[in-house]
Structures are given as structure tokens and as C-alpha cells.
């Protein structure tokens, strides 16, 4: 191990020329597993794989390999992207292309491996082969690059994800890792690095789209001895998991990105602010930082350049608002995570009053690639004002889900129809939601919109951190808006009144819209109408007067749902009807007398005793008593319960 470390440091990291000697290249190929004499099994090991059962798959593979093919190497890699294919497994036989298989649960391991090693490939679970130069083709097997899920993607940031063991720094170095960082600290000044990033046109990927190079320059010129870099890996929007996937699959690139960014602003301390609950990702990042320190890439006087850097991980203690810059700084200072008034912006007065740059994980992951290939290369894809790519977490009701990366300017329609492969179970699309709990809805009429900061902003849509949630007809929009409002209400920090009270009142009104009133004639109805009339006013006041982004964007889901699904709101309010049959309070059930056998199953389970009847005779439901819980519907074996 020590020999390899010395070899890689001397012959790769500190090697001045861009082309390596043929002897070094051989070692690199071996590290990349391009020349192996044994079969290699790659098993994805991210959180989504573990949830799908990859740990049991791993032990089954180990048992099989020990018994039958002891020379086989097993490598735990990060996620490749498609979450619905987990546990995903990739097998490389010596000299042949890699084969990808999906959903390999414990029981499927033995037949699959038996087939592979005896040249009888199970085509049911096969996704395809990955074409690589110098490898033998598998005849009659499609290439995964040609599958629509991968073909429409442009993988730059995710290029390493799922390809190497994220716990091994050697494998990352063999993939050109850390050379951009060493080039930067040895040959460029702070300003030059800032200039390169500014010329590339990289914009902050956390939603605002602020030019990264400009931010760095402002901090650099803020005039202070010490500065800080904070990597915001907080990502706590419901339904967003891009940062975690990148950290689990390629932590070294983030470490390199942080190192370059810290150098560019002259910071000697970088802090990664980590999301609670991503324990797996945190361990991997910690390991990456430790091994980078071991290689001398971090610490005092890095490779005799006179530059010092240390990276610290801090776990967030659990508050959504901490993702806001000033609240994040307050948390790091040991105070309550409450936002502060801006200006002064953190770039001039941030952590402990020092200039601080806060960048998102995806932004920093782009940096090493730009330093390696130059700003023109980065500008060669994407749109003019938003160059590069965007990583999105596709979830919800699409046929495919997972983490994808697309070129800026790709339309929502392409993502939806080709990458996500349409809607599950042949249902129709209702909307796509971008930007998490404070994002907006995009309906079927607007699917031609491209993913681009400026175009989206013009339409009043925030891109957010990369959640792309597909919603189908079985979802009630009013209920979904209520869910987001409930989340925002519980996460509002309570510092400013418009947000604290506004989210509470909006939630209250939305709840009254979907609740069944005890008596429709009483003042309840009047109260409901009065409340509904005020919803829009409250939303606009919150938008204008809240202190931070949380309050300003909290009404967004409501406002955009109202814009596109007004008739659904009106149905709930006036007709007391929910077309998706989700809102419990508005559901009522009745029993089909022809189908009911009088088995008494529903009557015995009804929590409010609203079902009456005589045994072996058709039963009936008293509508006034029914609370619409649907237990009778679930329990009936004769499908005699009808939803009204």
C-alpha cells in the first residue's frame, strides 16, 4: 500500500506533463480494472440499494463466489442512477464488456452467477452491456448507452458514479483525480482560479443560480486575513436526494472541488454542513477526507506549495431553515438556526464575521472538471446563460426513477417521456413538481419548457435543489398543497411573523377545505368561505414581507396549484368533492346491495359503527356517521363498497 502511495504521488500527482508514461498508464489501467484476469462483480451500495436489499445480495454473492469462483473480485461501487433497478449489479468477465443486471435480490444471485460463469445469460434481468474500447462485445445484447434512460442524459458530474469504489482514493487518482487541484495550487494564483470559473459561466446549483466565480471573487476581495468555505450538503427538501447520491458514489470529487474552491478564495478551513440521516454518505466522505489527508493533499503546506487546508464535517442538528445561508452560519456559530437580515451578505461578513463562501455540493462537484478541461469545454454544453449540466432526482409516479444528469436546456418533456419513460400503470400526468417543498408545478401544457435558470425564472418557477417529482391523476392537488404547507409550518423558525403565522393560517384554511364539517348549515361553511377568500392575500403578504427564502417561497406550491388547478380547489370548496378520492373528509361510501353477502366483516371493523344490517342480508352505511376512513372498502372481499 505504501509503495503504491509513493508511486502515485510521484508518478501521477506530482508529474508535470499531461501525458503519463506508459509504465504509469499500465498501473492506472489496472487500478481502473481495465486489464483484469479475473471476473469482477460490481454491486451498488448506496442508501437506495441498501433499502432495496443490497446487503443481503452481497452476502449471497460472497457465499457463491467463495464456493465456486474464488478468484472473482467483488467491488462495492456507488449508485449508477436508476433507483428502481436496485440492487443493481454489474459483471465484467476478463476482456469482455460489462453486463448490467437489475433487481438482483438475494434469491436471484445463484441462478444469475451460475448462468454467467457457464455462458448462459439470463435475459430477463439483463439491462444491457456497456461498450468500452478494447473489450470484446457480447453479441445480441443492447448497449446501455442506447437505452433511453441513459441516451438522453449527459453525464459529467455523475461520470464516476457507479464506476469505482468510493472508499478507495487510488481508484479516484487513476481516473485523473486530484490532478486539477495540484495543478491549481502549483501553477495558478487565487485570482486565476476565480477567473477560470467565472469564464466557464458556472452558476450555483442550489436554485438561485448566482455566478460561482463572481461569488468567489467577492469573498477574495473582501479584505480579511481569514476566510471560510462552507459546502452546503444540507439538502432536506422532501424528495430530494441528489447530493446524498453524489456523496455516496463519488466523495473524492467533492473533496477535490472543496479543495480547489478553498484555494481560490484563500480559505484554510472548509466546513461541510451535513444532513442528518445520511450517515452512510457521511462515513464515506469522512473516509475520503482522511485518505486525502494521508496522501498529503490536505493539511499543512500541501505539497510544499505553502497552502494549508483542513476540511471539517459538521452534522446539522435538524432544522429545514438551516439550509438558508445566514441560518446555516448561525448554526455553525452554536446559536439557534435563524436567518439574519441581508445585506451584509456572507461573502463579506459570514462565519465569525469573516468572508464566507457557501456553495452547494453539485456546484463544487463541477469545479474539478472545469479545471481539468478548461472553461470553453464547460461552455460547449448547456445554454448560453446556463452552461453545463443539471443533476435531478426523479421520483414520484414515473416508470423510472433515480438520479439523472441532463444538459441545461433539455425540455421537461424529454425528461418525462424518455428518461422517466412515462407514467406508471398507464395513468395520465397531472403535473411535474420542481424545487421541493417551495417549488412550483408544471402542467401538461408547459412541458416544452427547457431546464434553464433564466427561462424558468421568467415563468416564476424556481429550480430548487433538483427534485423532479412526477404527479399523476391519482393525487389530489389540494391534499398535496396541504402536505407542503404542513411541512413548511413545522419547519418555520418563528423569527418573523409573516412566515410563522402565515404558514399556520394557510394550513388551517387548507385543512378546513378538506375536512368534513359536522354540520354544513352552521357557521362552519361561512367560516370556510371567509378563509378561502383570504388564502391568496395571505400568500402574497408572505411572499412580500417574510425575512428569508423559506417564508417567501412557502406559498409557491399553493399559488401555482391555484393557477393550474383552480377547478379542483373549487370542487373541494363548493361541491365538497375530491376527484382523486384522496381527501378522507370528502369521501363517502355506500354498499352495493347486489354484491353484499352480509358477511358482517365491514360492520365489525367500522370505527364509528356507521354500518348496520342483519347477517346474510345486504348491509347499509349511515352517511351522517361515516368519516370516510375507507376501512370497509379495504376489508370487503366482494367489492361491494362503492365510493361516491
Amino acid at each position: 500500500m505504501e509503495d503504491l502511495k509513493r508511486f502515485l504521488t510521484e508518478k501521477v500527482l506530482l508529474f508535470e506533463s499531461d501525458t503519463l508514461s506508459s509504465e504509469t498508464e499500465k498501473v492506472m489501467q489496472q487500478l481502473r480494472r481495465e486489464k483484469t484476469n479475473n471476473a469482477v462483480i460490481f454491486l451498488s451500495s448506496g442508501t437506495s440499494s441498501i433499502i432495496a436489499g443490497s446487503e443481503r445480495t452481497l452476502s449471497a454473492i460472497k457465499t457463491y463466489v467463495d464456493d465456486n469462483e474464488p478468484n472473482t473480485e467483488i467491488v462495492l461501487v456507488g449508485c449508477t442512477g436508476p433507483a428502481n433497478f436496485e440492487p443493481l449489479i454489474c459483471i465484467q468477465l476478463p476482456g469482455k464488456n460489462k453486463l448490467y443486471f437489475r433487481n438482483i435480490i438475494e434469491e436471484k444471485v445463484e441462478p444469475l452467477l451460475n448462468g454467467i460463469f457457464h455462458n448462459d445469460i439470463n435475459k430477463d434481468d439483463l439491462i444491457g452491456q456497456q461498450g468500452s474500447k478494447g473489450f470484446e462485445l457480447w453479441p445480441g445484447i443492447p448497449f446501455i448507452e442506447e437505452l433511453s434512460f441513459f441516451a438522453k442524459q449527459k453525464r459529467v458530474v455523475l461520470s464516476n458514479c457507479g464506476c469505482y469504489d468510493p472508499e478507495s482514493i487510488e481508484e479516484y487518482i487513476a481516473r485523473n483525480g486530484y490532478r486539477a487541484y495540484i495543478k491549481a495550487i502549483r501553477h495558478y494564483t487565487y485570482e486565476e482560479v476565480c477567473n477560470i470559473i467565472e469564464n466557464s459561466g458556472l452558476r450555483g446549483r442550489s436554485g438561485g443560480g448566482y455566478p460561482t466565480g463572481l461569488k468567489w471573487k467577492q469573498a477574495l476581495n473582501a479584505g480579511s486575513v481569514s476566510r471560510y468555505l462552507i459546502c452546503n450538503a444540507k439538502e432536506s427538501d422532501p424528495g430530494a436526494f441528489t447530493d446524498r447520491m453524489m456523496l455516496e458514489s463519488d466523495p473524492h470529487r467533492l473533496v477535490e472541488g472543496i479543495a480547489i474552491a478553498s484555494y481560490a478564495i484563500g480559505a484554510s478551513t472548509a466546513i461541510v454542513f451535513f444532513r442528518r440521516g445520511s450517515e452512510h454518505a457521511r462515513q464515506r466522505l469522512q473516509k475520503a477526507i482522511d485518505s486525502a489527508r494521508d496522501y498529503g493533499l490536505l493539511g499543512h503546506n500541501v505539497f510544499s506549495s505553502g497552502y494549508n487546508l483542513d476540511i471539517i464535517i459538521r452534522k446539522e442538528p435538524g432544522a429545514f431553515v438551516c439550509g438558508e445561508e445566514t441560518a446555516l452560519i448561525s448554526t455553525l456559530e452554536g446559536k439557534r438556526g435563524m436567518p439574519q437580515l441581508k445585506p451584509p451578505y456572507p461573502v463579506t461578513t459570514g462565519l465569525f464575521g469573516k468572508p464566507t463562501v457557501i456553495n452547494n455540493v453539485e456546484t463544487l462537484m463541477n469545479v474539478p472538471m472545469i479545471m481539468q478541461n478548461g472553461p470553453e469545454w464547460f461552455r460547449s454544453f448547456g445554454t448560453e446563460n446556463s452552461p453545463g449540466t443539471k443533476v435531478l432526482a426523479v421520483a414520484g409516479k414515473g416508470r423510472m426513477s433515480g438520479v439523472i444528469e441532463i444538459e441545461m436546456g433539455t425540455t421537461i418533456k424529454t425528461i418525462l417521456a424518455e428518461i422517466a419513460d412515462g407514467i406508471k400503470e398507464g395513468k395520465t400526468l397531472k403535473a411535474v413538481q420542481l424545487g421541493g417543498a417551495s417549488g412550483s408545478f408544471i402542467t401538461a401544457e408547459n412541458l416544452e419548457l427547457p431546464v434553464d435558470y433564466d427561462v424558468m425564472k421568467k415563468q416564476g418557477i424556481g429550480m430548487g435543489a433538483g427534485g423532479f417529482i412526477i404527479i399523476d391523476e391519482s393525487t389530489c392537488m389540494v391534499d398535496l398543497v396541504r402536505y407542503y404547507m404542513e411541512f413548511m409550518h413545522s419547519e418555520s423558525c418563528g423569527k418573523c411573523i409573516p412566515c410563522r403565522e402565515g404558514t399556520g393560517r394557510m394550513l388551517e384554511i387548507l385543512e378546513s377545505v378538506i375536512k368534513k364539517p359536522l354540520n354544513e348549515d352552521s357557521g362552519n361553511t361561512l367560516e370556510r368561505f371567509k378563509g378561502v377568500m383570504q388564502l391568496e392575500t395571505i400568500a402574497s403578504v408572505m411572499k412580500d414581507t417574510s425575512l428569508c427564502g423559506l417564508g417567501q417561497t412557502a406559498p409557491n406550491p399553493f399559488l401555482s396549484a391555484l393557477k393550474y388547478f383552480r377547478e379542483e380547489f373549487e370542487e373541494h370548496i363548493f361541491d365538497r368533492r375530491c376527484r382523486a378520492n384522496i381527501c378522507r373528509g370528502l369521501r363517502s361510501f355506500s354498499i352495493d346491495v347486489d354484491k353484499c353477502t352480509g358477511c358482517t366483516a365491514c360492520a365489525s371493523k367500522c370505527p364509528v359503527n356507521a354500518i348496520y344490517g342483519t347477517r346474510l342480508q345486504p348491509f347499509f352505511i349511515v352517511e351522517e356517521k361515516c368519516i370516510g376512513c375507507g376501512i370497509c372498502n379495504d376489508i370487503c372481499k366482494f367489492s361491494a363498497i362503492k365510493v361516491k
Binding site: 437506495s48 433499502i51 442528518r276 442538528p317
Partner: protein, 156 residues
């Protein structure tokens, strides 16, 4: 108990407020919750009043002031799980365990938390029981699971 806190405190420097949250996090990881004595001791150590420490700890979701149950359940209530009706699962768990999120049942067996995304968006609703993941959870599986876990704990 108090000796454990002293061991943890040795790793930190007194009077540094920026280390307060990591310190509280470490105490919680070690003992499962923040006890009254722990908060008082941390207050003395950092040089802040106990009310300030308590005010800070209650602001954040992570800190608990009562020990977690022997079976700790974490349920995902992210958008994707919500679309796959995680609310029904949460209601069922509430009904079966008889406690609210963040609380611990009187016999000290069950406690549960609701989180916003666990990363199994395709397999929702997702639930974690201690270290074991369950996916595609249906509300009607809950009573049997709770019964089984209760039996295992009581007969252990």
C-alpha cells in the same frame, strides 16, 4: 452516567460556543438523549445559562429529552412516500404504539420519528426499524409487525 459526559467533555475546549452543537450531538449519540444533568453540566462547561442551552436544543429536531424506545422506528414522509400514502402508515403506527412522533411509550419499548427523505423514493413508503429497512410498507402490515416486535422485546 455523569462520568460518560466528563469523558466526552475532555475532547472539547471549555467556553467555545461554536462547539456547543457538536458537543450536544455527541452526548446524544452516546446516551440516546439529553438528560437534565447533561444540559446543566454542558451549560457550566460552555459558560451559558441552562435555559439558553435548553432553548437551543429544543429548536432543533434532533435532540430528544426522553430516552428513545428499545425499538426505534423512522418513517419517511418525503413527497414520494407521501404520494404512496405514507400518511396512512404513520396513522397506523400512531394507533398501534399509542404515542406521538418524538415520544416514547410508557413501557419504553416503542418510539418513532418522521423524517423527510430517506432515499428510497422508488420503494415508498420506506420505514426503518432500528437498523432494518422495510420498503413498500402497507398500513395493514403494521399491527402484526408491532406485535412481533413487542413479543421479541418482552421475551428477550
Amino acid at each position: 452516567m455523569s462520568t460518560d459526559i466528563e469523558i466526552i467533555l475532555k475532547k472539547y475546549k471549555p467556553g467555545r460556543r461554536e462547539e456547543l452543537i457538536p458537543l450536544l450531538q455527541e452526548i446524544q449519540e452516546d446516551s440516546g438523549h439529553l438528560s437534565e444533568e447533561a444540559i446543566v453540566r454542558v451549560g457550566e462547561f460552555v459558560g451559558l445559562s441552562t435555559t439558553k442551552i435548553y432553548g437551543l436544543a429544543t429548536f432543533y429536531d434532533q435532540f430528544r429529552f426522553i430516552p428513545a424506545g428499545k425499538v426505534h422506528i423512522t418513517i419517511c414522509h418525503g413527497t414520494s412516500c407521501f404520494l404512496n400514502s405514507s400518511q396512512a402508515v404513520i396513522n397506523k403506527i400512531k394507533e398501534e404504539t399509542g404515542v406521538l412522533a418524538g415520544q416514547t411509550s410508557r413501557d419504553g419499548i416503542f418510539s418513532y420519528d418522521i423524517v423527510t427523505c430517506m432515499g428510497g423514493c422508488n420503494n415508498g413508503p420506506v420505514m426503518r426499524v432500528n437498523d432494518q429497512y422495510h420498503h413498500y410498507v402497507k398500513p395493514d402490515q403494521i399491527p402484526e409487525l408491532i406485535k412481533k416486535l413487542r413479543y421479541l422485546i418482552e421475551n428477550d
